[in-house]
Amino acid sequence: MTWTPRERVLAALNHEEPDRVPLDFAGTGASSIVIDAYNRLKDYLELQHETELMSKLQHLAMPDESVLQRFGVDTRPIMAPGRRGGGGCWLDELTYVDHFGVTFKGTADTDDKHFLYKDGPLHGGKLTRERIDEMTWPDPDDPGIFTGIKEQVERYKASGDYCLVLNVPDQVIHRAYALRGMEDFLKDLYRNPNTACYLMDRLVDYNIRASENMIREAGSENIDIIFFGEDLGTQDGCMFDPDTTYTRLIKPRHERIIQTLKSLTGAKSLFHCCGSAYKFIDHLIDIGVDALNPVQITARNMEPERLKEEFGSRMAFWGGINTQEVLPYQSADVVRTETERCIEIFGRAGGYVLHAVHNIQFEVPPENVVSMYDTGLQHRYG
């Protein structure tokens, strides 16, 4: 049979083997490419077009359809269009205040141009319900979240049977870090859990409402995957206790988002978690997550063999090509070998969608991007 891109990805997520490993590139906000690396890739492929922006704050490109076709990419993103440029206001080239009132700072004269939150409306002092209620909340019905999505989906549908990924427009703990400051919010989870949960509940409400608007515009039947997530791991372990802090305070909030959006669409759930996600995977399976991204195999306990053996029948893996050591610093031949290894291990009996661990970074040479995708494109099951 001939497999369409959508069928290919969904088969993999159902732990079945399609014709070849499915490929993602920019189906999510965590599987795209830094603008500079994209421009070099474009030149290398001798393709000429204006580079489209996916995220100004993360300095990410939205690859052109010609690049996606060249690589045989199976996914296409549905994203809040008004957020690409940020949706807030720029105070200067390196200072941006977003729609939640969070200030992001960039750095001058450096290769990596992505921005990081530095101040927010709940920074400092004690976190209280009053402060949470009094801060200016963005409107989840803001047309900037959904205008143009209907046309975007129609364009995708007219050009092929792609796997469409709805990117939930915001986050919960990461947004709380930005509003409150990471260190203070982590302490709030212990010292002031009821108020921390109140903040998270309001953020869950915002995300669900904003996503509902996007789903309505896209047409619920057109959404194949819901992409949502936030980092629970560090390079060497867990950000917080997976069996107490996560289970009692955060997991129920993640569950509400995932279950609500899955039930509205019938889509699969793809969860993003950088670092060592190992100790969270059973919890994520519990709340209905079908696939894990970006599978940071260089973090503790994240070796492909271990993950596939322990979770492979219950969790699919999405990402996995080594961004910290191989893609930026090794040859195209080494990239091919490493990609083959990941397909062989993660892709056994389906359960694998190929992409780099996270967005392709600044220093990754175009030859290595091509090598990774061509290895995937040439792969055949059976």
């Binding site: 450096t110 290769d111 390079q235 060497d236 802090t245 910290q324 970074q361």
Partner: protein, 212 residues
């Protein structure tokens, strides 16, 4: 009441209790150095060990370090009056171009809790500023971190510059590196004196430098 209570209060992440108990210990005539070492440094080492073993996590480290910091506010002037010197001075920051600082902050807090004097230069720090500050503050150690893969090049440049400055400015500053993309192999390759995969390990490294 004993110094053990101070230790327990740090492990209960109870800043107010630590302040109360440290004050009470001083009033009963307990040696300040004993309160510091057996009450606070020992407790922070226990938390660090739990962190390295994966039984305690980032929030617990933050809270324990803050409890120790509160106790240090009381002890530090007393220790200084008694002529006690800090165990060493560490100039710390994230490398040029990198704003990710929670790992750096944890290392700084643990080092401070372990009795080091910390000069925290924050994030996105120019190499020259690391070196000039270290010289001015008569530092023993420069500690540099980064999260981004692009920071590896900057860390490499910074370490080389510190080694060069040691020769040209007649200094003997050790440089230690850390952060998610950094590993021992990389640290060795670029000639860093020390590397650790986590914050408690960084404290061990710093102690070794001073001891030797």
């Amino acid at each position: 009441m004993t110094v053990q209570n101070v230790y327990d209060a740090v492990l209960a992440y109870d800043e107010e209790e630590v302040v109360k108990l440290v004050t009470a210990e001083l009033e009963t005539g307990t040696e300040p150095e004993k309160i510091l070492q057996e009450g606070m440094v020992a407790a922070l080492d226990t938390v660090g060990q739990g962190f390295s073993e994966g039984t305690l996590f980032v929030p617990e480290m933050l809270m324990a370090a803050e409890a120790v910091k509160a106790g240090l506010e009381i002890l530090r002037p007393i220790l200084a009056n008694l002529g006690a010197k800090p165990h060493g001075t560490v100039v710390i920051g994230t490398v040029k171009g990198d704003l990710h600082d929670i790992g750096k902050n944890l290392v700084a807090m643990l080092l401070e809790g372990a009795g080091f004097r910390i000069v925290d230069l924050g994030t996105d720090v120019d190499t020259e500023l690391f070196i000039d500050t270290a010289q001015k503050e008569k530092a023993d150690i420069i500690a540099i971190s980064g999260l981004l893969t692009t920071s590896m090049m900057e860390i490499d440049k910074a370490v080389r510059a510190v080694r060069e400055a040691n020769k040209t400015r007649n200094m003997n500053i050790k440089v230690m590196v850390g952060g998610p993309p950094v590993n021992q192999e990389f640290a060795t390759k670029i000639g860093a004196n020390g590397y650790s995969e986590d914050a408690p390990g960084a404290v061990e490294q710093a102690r070794d430098f001073i001891a030797n």
